[in-house]
Subunit: 288 residues, 2 copies
C-alpha cells in the first residue's frame, strides 16, 4: 500500500475512500468569516484551492465545470442579457458568461470576498478581468438575500455555483430559494444550479433532495452530467430548470457556433449527450 | 491533511495523485504466472480485486463498465450470434453478453486462469454462471494467438476487455492485433475495445496511440465515454470500430427495449449521449 501522508492533500469522498494530491507548495491560507481557504500548488493540477478542505477549483480541470455551468443555457437562449451568478467566487463562471457580447449586465454575488480576492492574487486563470468588465457588478453578500429582494422578471439566467449544501451553501438548496429564483426569472428564464453527484450516497441524497424541491416549482426541470475528475466520483451534475424552454429541443446550434466562442469541453453535441442520464440516475431523480 | 496509510489501498493515478480505499479485510492474494492478484473487501465498494495493484473490478461500479462494453454493440446489431471476448477474466463482460438469447456461441479467452477462478470464489457477482452456460467456451490462452489463428469472418462481435497496454496487456494494443480483429470479423462485425482515458497524460497517450492504429484499419472508428469512478479520473472510453455499421445511425432502440434486458447504467439515450465527446478529447483523437 502506497503511503499517502506528508505533503499530500487528501479529500475524503466518503469516510472510507478519498482522492489525494501531492502538494509542491502551500501558497496561502486564511480563515475568512465564513470558511477556511487554502491555496496549494501541485504538478499535475497546477494551483488549486479548497474551502474547508474540500477541492473547489484547480487549473487543470476548472474549464470543464465552468464551461458546463454556463454554455448550455446560451445554446438554448442566444439573447441572454441579464445574468445573476450566486457563488462562484473564483470568477470562472463569470469569465465564461462575459464571453457573450449579448450580456448587458451581470450581478456576480458571492458571500465571501476573501475567496475572490485570493483568486485574483493566486488564480488569475479564473478571476482576472472579471471585476474590470464594466458589465459586471461584483457584490459580496448573501445570495439568499439577493434573490429575496430582487424584483420579478429581473433575469434571463441565474447560475447557482454553490458549495455543497452544508454550512454557508445550505440556503442555496431550499424551496424558498428556488421559488425566488423562479419569481425573478423572466418568461424565457433559465436556472442552472450545482446539483451534486449520483454516485456516493451522501452526494446522491443531496442531489435527490434538491431535485425534489426544484421539480415542484419549475415546469421543466432537467439534469445534465459531465466529467469532473477532481470532484467526488468525477460524475457531476447541474440542474437546468425553466418555465417552458426546453434544453434539448430549443437549441440553436448554428447560431451558437457562429459566435466563435472557444471551448475546450463544451460543444452542441455535448449538450445533447449530457442530458442523457444512466438508468440508475434517472430512477433516483424520478423517485424523489 | 488526512492520513492515508495503514489499511488503505492506494492506486496512484499519476505520480502525484491517487485514489485510496480503506480496506476492511484482505481476502486473498496470489502471484499468478502473469501478475499479482489481490482481493480486498471494503465498506463502500464491497469486494474488489487488483492486478499488479491496479483496480480492476469492484462490486459497486462493475455494472457501469460491463454494461457499457457490451450493450452498445447489441443496440446496433440485434442479431449478434458469435462473440469473442479477449480478457475480462472477472466474467462480467461475458455475463452481459450471455443475457442475449441471440448469442449462440461465446469464446471467452483470458490469459490468466487464476483471475477467473478467484473471481468464481470471491466475486460471484461477475463470474457466477458464466462457465456453466453451454454457449460459453472459456479458454485460458493468449488472446493475440487466438485472433492470429481464427479463420476470416468468424465473429459478429469482438470485445477487448484488457488491462492497460503494459506487460501482458500490450499485445492487445498493436496494429497486428487490430488487423486480425478486422479480418476475423464478418461484414457487419463490431470491435469494441478498452480505450483508456483522456484526462491524465499517460492514459491519454495510450488512448491516442490505440486510436491512431485502429482508425487506419477500420473505416468506422468511433469512441464513446462513460463515468467509471474507480478508474483513473473516472472518465473512461471504449472504441467502437466497424467495417461500415454506424453506432449512432444504425441503432434499433425499439427492438432493444423489447428484449427487456435489465440495465442500471445503459439505455438507448446513453448510447447516443456517450458518443458525444468533449472538444479536448475530439482534438486528441483527430490529431493522432
Amino acid at each position: 500500500l502506497t503511503k499517502i501522508d506528508n505533503n499530500w492533500y487528501t479529500e475524503l469522498w466518503t469516510d472510507d475512500c478519498g482522492f489525494s494530491i501531492k502538494v509542491e507548495e502551500k501558497l496561502a491560507s486564511k480563515q475568512s468569516p465564513f470558511q477556511k481557504i487554502d491555496f496549494y500548488k501541485s504538478k499535475t493540477f497546477g494551483t488549486f484551492f479548497t474551502l474547508d478542505d474540500l477541492m473547489m477549483v484547480n487549473e487543470k480541470d476548472e474549464f470543464i465545470y465552468h464551461e458546463m455551468i454556463v454554455h448550455p443555457a446560451f445554446l438554448v437562449n442566444p439573447n441572454i442579457k441579464r445574468v445573476l451568478i450566486i457563488g462562484g467566487g473564483d470568477g470562472g463562471t463569470a469569465r465564461e458568461v462575459l464571453k457573450y457580447k449579448t450580456v448587458e449586465h451581470l450581478d456576480f454575488i458571492d458571500i465571501d470576498e476573501d475567496v475572490f480576492r485570493m483568486c485574483q492574487e493566486f488564480l488569475p486563470i479564473t478571476a482576472a478581468g472579471v471585476e474590470e468588465d464594466p458589465r459586471c457588478n461584483v457584490e459580496f453578500r448573501d445570495g439568499v438575500e439577493v434573490v429575496n429582494n430582487a424584483p420579478d422578471n429581473s433575469y434571463d439566467l441565474i447560475l447557482v455555483d454553490s458549495t455543497d449544501p452544508i454550512s454557508i451553501g445550505e440556503g442555496l438548496f431550499t424551496t424558498d430559494f428556488y421559488k425566488n429564483c423562479y419569481r425573478i426569472l423572466n418568461e424565457n428564464g433559465i436556472l442552472v444550479n450545482q446539483h451534486e453527484s449520483p454516485y456516493f450516497t451522501e452526494y446522491a441524497n443531496n442531489m435527490k433532495k434538491a431535485h425534489g424541491k426544484i421539480k415542484n416549482i419549475f415546469p421543466i426541470s432537467e439534469v445534465y452530467q459531465f466529467h469532473m475528475p477532481t470532484y467526488p466520483s468525477g460524475h457531476w451534475l447541474f440542474g437546468f430548470s425553466t418555465k417552458g424552454v426546453n434544453p434539448l429541443n430549443d437549441t440553436n446550434d448554428r447560431l451558437w457556433l457562429d459566435l466563435g466562442i472557444k471551448t475546450k469541453y463544451f460543444n452542441p453535441q455535448i449538450q445533447k449527450g449530457s442530458f442523457c442520464l444512466p438508468n440508475y440516475v434517472k430512477e433516483m431523480l424520478e423517485n424523489e
